[in-house]
Chain length 152, copies 2
Amino acid sequence: MEKDHEYFMTLALREAQKAYERDEVPIGAVIVSNNNGEVLAVNGNRTREKNNPCAHAEILVIEEACNRKGAQRIPECDLYVTVEPCPMCASAASFARINTVIFGAIDEKSGGAISGPRLYESPAIHHKPHVISGILASDCGTLMTEFFKGKR
Amino acid sequence: MEKDHEYFMTLALREAQKAYERDEVPIGAVIVSNNNGEVLAVNGNRTREKNNPCAHAEILVIEEACNRKGAQRIPECDLYVTVEPCPMCASAASFARINTVIFGAIDEKSGGAISGPRLYESPAIHHKPHVISGILASDCGTLMTEFFKGKR
């Protein structure tokens, strides 16, 4: 069976679940080469662990994949992430020249790719990745809802 | 003489100049504690050197200052940067709870704080740093113009 969006999103979800268990905002991300389906990086949020507000799942996997490729631009790669990227991460994916950003749940409150400031429609974002949303959205969103319910 | 915005911007400009000499986009940044004027981090762009599209000056100094403080939120700190932050960096400064973002030149083409997507007016950005612009703007902007002129 060919690996599909749900397969890679399941990998991202596993990272989100691990983030949840570390008491981090439960978002996970995966970078995949769209040449051969090779998984170049998987990670979840680690802002608390690293005392680093930039250590979102997406930033961590972009940095790792770029490091592995020895390049600051990885146009042959796709980014899977369980929740719509925030403006920081949406912009980082653009700088990395990510081909397609595939996410699960839309984040109307804090998302920045297609929600809120809609960066992927903004002239300030010079490379606009393709966007596919809604992959395993319910599972991805439920993890977030459960996490923040526990914080109230 | 009390240290003022121009003093700290001069430190940022020095980092921008060093970035220029490394053939990096010449932007420099400084994080200063607004309690006592302590300089917590200085750096310039290193995206080429690090093969990391996220290694903008602002991200590097936010990460270093947070690391020094052992915290992912540094609300007692101000960020000086020679050019208006892009959406990635404007968003990162918000996550870090930076008190005030002070920048030199406005970046109408790629800026994201008050230009383009105007993130600091967006409901998706939950902490909105104060903004002061135009400090040594001419020096900051000239360095960019010269750099990109050399690339054409």
